[in-house]
Symmetry: C2
Subunit: 154 residues, 2 copies
DNA sequence: TTGGCTGCAAATCTTTTGCAGTTCG
DNA sequence: CGAACTGCAAAAGATTTGCAGCCAA
């Protein structure tokens, strides 16, 4: 069994426990949706998650996906990110290191990166203002190398 | 005349010139909308901007506000930010130093801050990936001092 | 058993778009 | 004059909500 799956199982258990602690029921639909969400690894939209979930259980409706995603955000397992475009994307908070995004304005390419220095700096700023930090999101927009080249050639 | 107004006039002229350079027309509605946008200083939603603009010229429609905001973003004078909630907020890129946001999850308080160190680090990361940076947004979510106290007391 | 959850469809909300008339350049 | 712009209303898209039936605890 690949390592990735073990992580999925671990996180899923954590989610289920957290749900139970809050008196939230664990249904087969939530099982499927959370599993697909964690397996995806990549950030994905509610609609993309709906498609993947329907592949496992075609009866699952969009409303349930939205309700589950909101639940995950509330519990602190998922995070909303904005990568441009019309709809919000979500990604797991646990199971992999936190990362931020570098987005190409021309072709939409999304590069994920991690940076210890930025995280530290953020904590310092939060402390300065007396905040207790839960999470953050950093999105940097610009032109990727290929698009720079392409645009320069035109 | 207050200093703030001079800045508004300066930026507005820059916007108008940039518009002209692109062959974009300068109408009375755009004049009003851009003026209100710059005067607000604070980040504001399309709807808030519509309300303010209607106070000056009640005939202005929502579509024009959206079209103008998109134009400003395209020109690089405005930036979309997401402060939670359903609708996007916008804020001027010029006329004041760049800043990021610290947002309280409990009461919605938004603290704006600037940090040289983070900006530098971001540029370094962009360069590492070969990106040319246009802009970025950093939003940190947590609990403000008051809400920490309030929640602890409960 | 029973209150929370589900799917469906309808309702909301935000943002975009088509169109006929208006206006800037 | 002619292309770009405007307001309106309709459309489009994303997300939420009401409701009747279903199911985990």
């Amino acid at each position: 069994m690949p390592v990735a799956n073990e992580i999925v199982v671990q996180v899923q258990e954590r989610v289920r426990d957290e749900a139970k602690r809050r008196g939230v029921r664990w249904t087969s639909q939530r099982q499927v949706i959370v599993e697909q969400f964690l397996l995806a690894g990549e950030h994905l939209t509610a609609d993309e998650l709906l498609v993947r979930s329907k592949e496992v259980d075609p009866a699952i409706g969009a409303a349930t996906v939205y309700r589950t995603l909101n639940l995950l955000v509330e519990i602190g397992v998922a995070q909303r990110v904005r990568l441009g475009g019309g709809s919000a994307s979500f990604e797991p908070v646990l199971g992999r290191a936190h990362h931020d995004h570098l987005i190409c304005l021309a072709c939409g390419l999304v590069v994920e990166f991690e940076d210890e220095g930025i995280e530290k700096r953020q904590n310092a700023i939060a402390k300065k203002h007396g905040f207790v930090l839960r999470h953050h999101r950093l999105e940097m927009f610009g032109l990727c190398p290929k698009c720079q080249e392409r645009l320069a050639a035109e």
